[in-house]
Symmetry: C2
Subunit: 320 residues, 2 copies
C-alpha cells in the first residue's frame, strides 16, 4: 500500500463531515471553530500512515481513531488556552476570548467525550486495547500539563524532569497515534511497541526543536517573535541547562529589570558561552537517530521506513 496519500486532505474532509446531531448549536460551534483552526494534523497523519505501513487497506477504516486523537489534541489545546489565559491560537482569538470561559470549558469536555466515542468505533476485538491506550495516554498528558504548570514556580527543575515532562505532554500522544495505527492494521505486538518508541523519540525531537527555534530560529522563517521563551523565563531545555551550568550568571540576568531585547541578548550570550545552540541540536539529532533505529527493526517496506524517517528528520530541521 502506497503512502503517497494526501493524509491532511483526507483528515480535513473527515473533520468537515463530522455530524453534530444535537439540539444545542451553542455547544458545538466552539468545537467546529477549534477543529477548523488548521494545524499540522500530525497525530491523525501518523496514525493513518502507520496503519497503511502495517498492511491496512483503506484509511477510512482507521479514520475514526485518527479523528479521535485530533479531537483529543484540540481539546487539550482549548483547555490549555483557558489555563494559560492565552488570547491567540493559530492566528485567531481563542475560544474563551471569542465566546467565554464557560463555553470553552464545556465544549472542551464535550470534545473529550466525543474523542472517546470516536476511538471506540472499531471492531469489538480491538475495543478494549484501543481504549486502554487512549485513556492511559490521556492521563499521562494531564500529568505532563500539571508538571509544566508546577515548573513555573520552581527553580530546581532538572533536565531529567524536563525530559519526562515533554515525554508526557507531547510524546505519548504521537506514540499513541503510531501504535494505534499499527494495532488497527493487525501489526505484531513487537512492531506496535517499536512504533510507539518511534513516536516517543519523534516527540522529544519535535519539542526540543521547538525550544531551539524559539531562541535560535530565523526570525524571517519562524513566523513569530524570537525569544518569547526567554522573556517569559519558560523552563526549556536551554534555560534549565544554563541554570545548572551557569546558575549565578542566569539568576543575575533574570533578576535584573531589563528591556526585552537586552534580556534576550544577555541570555543568548550565556547560552552561547555554554555552546547550547549546538548541544541542543545534537540532542535533537540523537532522538531522530533513535527514532530511525526503531523503524529499522519494524517489519515494513523500505518505502514506509523512508516515509517515517523523513518525517522525523524534517521535524528536526524545521524552521517554523
Amino acid at each position: 500500500m502506497s503512502l503517497s496519500v494526501n493524509f491532511t486532505e483526507a483528515v480535513n474532509n473527515a473533520i468537515e463531515a463530522i455530524k453534530y446531531p444535537y439540539v444545542t448549536p451553542g455547544l458545538f460551534a466552539p468545537i467546529r471553530y477549534t477543529l477548523d483552526g488548521g494545524g499540522k494534523r500530525i497525530r491523525p497523519r501518523l496514525l493513518l500512515a502507520a496503519y497503511l505501513a502495517c498492511g491496512g487497506k483503506e484509511i477510512s477504516e482507521a479514520m475514526p481513531q485518527a479523528l479521535g486523537l485530533e479531537m483529543f489534541h484540540n481539546f487539550t489545546l482549548l483547555h490549555d488556552d483557558v489555563m494559560d489565559n492565552a488570547d491567540i491560537r493559530r492566528g485567531r482569538p481563542t475560544v474563551h476570548r471569542k465566546w467565554d470561559v464557560p463555553s470553552a470549558i464545556l465544549s472542551g469536555d464535550a470534545m473529550l467525550t466525543m474523542a472517546s466515542q470516536l476511538m471506540g468505533e472499531c471492531e469489538d476485538s480491538k475495543l478494549r486495547e484501543i481504549l486502554r491506550l487512549f485513556n492511559d495516554t490521556a492521563m499521562e498528558i494531564y500529568e505532563g500539563q500539571q508538571m509544566d504548570m508546577e515548573f513555573e514556580n520552581r527553580n530546581d527543575v532538572s533536565v531529567d524532569e524536563y525530559m519526562e515532562m515533554i515525554r508526557l505532554k507531547t510524546s505519548v500522544l504521537l506514540a499513541c497515534a503510531c501504535r494505534t495505527g499499527a494495532y488497527l492494521a493487525g501489526a505484531s505486538e513487537e512492531d506496535c511497541k517499536l512504533f510507539y518508541d518511534y513516536g516517543i523519540a519523534l516527540g522529544l525531537a519535535f519539542q526540543l526543536r521547538d525550544d531551539w527555534l524559539d531562541t535560535f530560529g530565523d526570525p524571517l522563517e519562524f513566523g513569530k517573535e524570537i525569544g518569547g521563551d526567554i522573556i517569559n523565563a519558560k523552563k526549556t531545555w536551554l534555560l534549565i541547562t544554563a541554570m545548572q551550568e551557569a546558575p549565578e550568571e542566569i539568576s543575575d540576568i533574570l533578576a535584573e529589570d531589563l528591556e526585552n531585547a537586552e534580556r534576550i541578548f544577555q541570555v543568548k550570550r550565556t547560552y552561547n558561552s555554554l555552546n547550547l545552540d549546538a548541544r541542543c541540536s545534537r540532542l535533537v539529532n540523537s532522538y531522530v537517530e533513535h527514532a530511525v533505529a526503531c523503524l529499522d527493526k519494524i517489519d515494513i517496506t523500505p518505502e514506509a521506513r523512508d516515509f517515517f524517517a523523513d518525517l522525523a528528520r524534517r521535524s528536526a530541521n524545521r524552521t517554523h
Copy 2:
C-alpha cells in the same frame, strides 16, 4: 438478594480505596478533595441497588461502574463551579477557590478520563454497551448544562424547554445509573428500559422538588436561605410558569430595584395567586407515580419494588 445493604458506606469505602498511582500529586489532590466532599451518593446507590434487584450477586462486581458515575457526577460539579464562579460547594471552598482555575479544569478533565476507565472495568461482552450509554449520557448532560446557561439570557423559555433541560442535566444520569446496574446483572432489554424510564421520572421529580424547596421550603430544615432562586431570577418551573401566566406582574417585580426580602415576598405573592405551590407539588407527585408505574412492570421482587418506590417518594417529600 436483600437490598438492606449500606450502599453509602460501601461506596465511601470504595472511594477511599481508589489508587492514584501517578507521579503528580498536585493533579490528584483536588480529585480526592472533591470525592471526599460527601453528597448523597445517589447515582452509585441507584446503580448498585438496580444491580442487586435484577439478580446481581456481589456489589463489588458493579462497584467500578458505581464509582465511575460518581466520579463523572463530581467532575460535572467541579467544572460547573468554575463556570458559575461558585465559592462554596457542600460547605467547603470550591476547588478553584482552594487551588486555582487551572487546577480545577485539569483535575476535572482527569476525573472524566478516570470515570471512563472505571466504566470500562466490566466483562468484554458488556463493554461496548456500557460505554455507549455512558458517553451518550455525558453528551446529553453537556447539552443540559449548555441549555441552562443559555436560559439565563432568555425571557421566552417555555415549560417544555425547561423540562427538557432538567431531563438532560439531571435525569439522564440517574437513568443511566439504573440501567447500567440492571444491564450488569443481566436484566432483559425491556427491564433495562423500564429502569431507565424510572430514573428519568425520578430525576424530574427530584429537580422539581429542588425548585419547590428553594421557594416554599421550611427555612429551619432547608439548610440554606430560602429564595436564592428568586433573588437570582433563576429560570425554574415556578418562574417560567409565572412568566407565562402573569407576565406583566412578574416583569414589573423583576425590573424594580427591591431589597431581597421584599423581592422574595412579592414574587411569592404572585406564585401564590397562581397556586403554584400546590401545582408544583402535584407535578412532582405525577412523576413519582410514573416512576412507580415503571417499577410495577419490572421483573423484580416486591421488596426491591418497594425499595425503589420508597426512594422516589422520599425524593418527592424531602425537606432538604
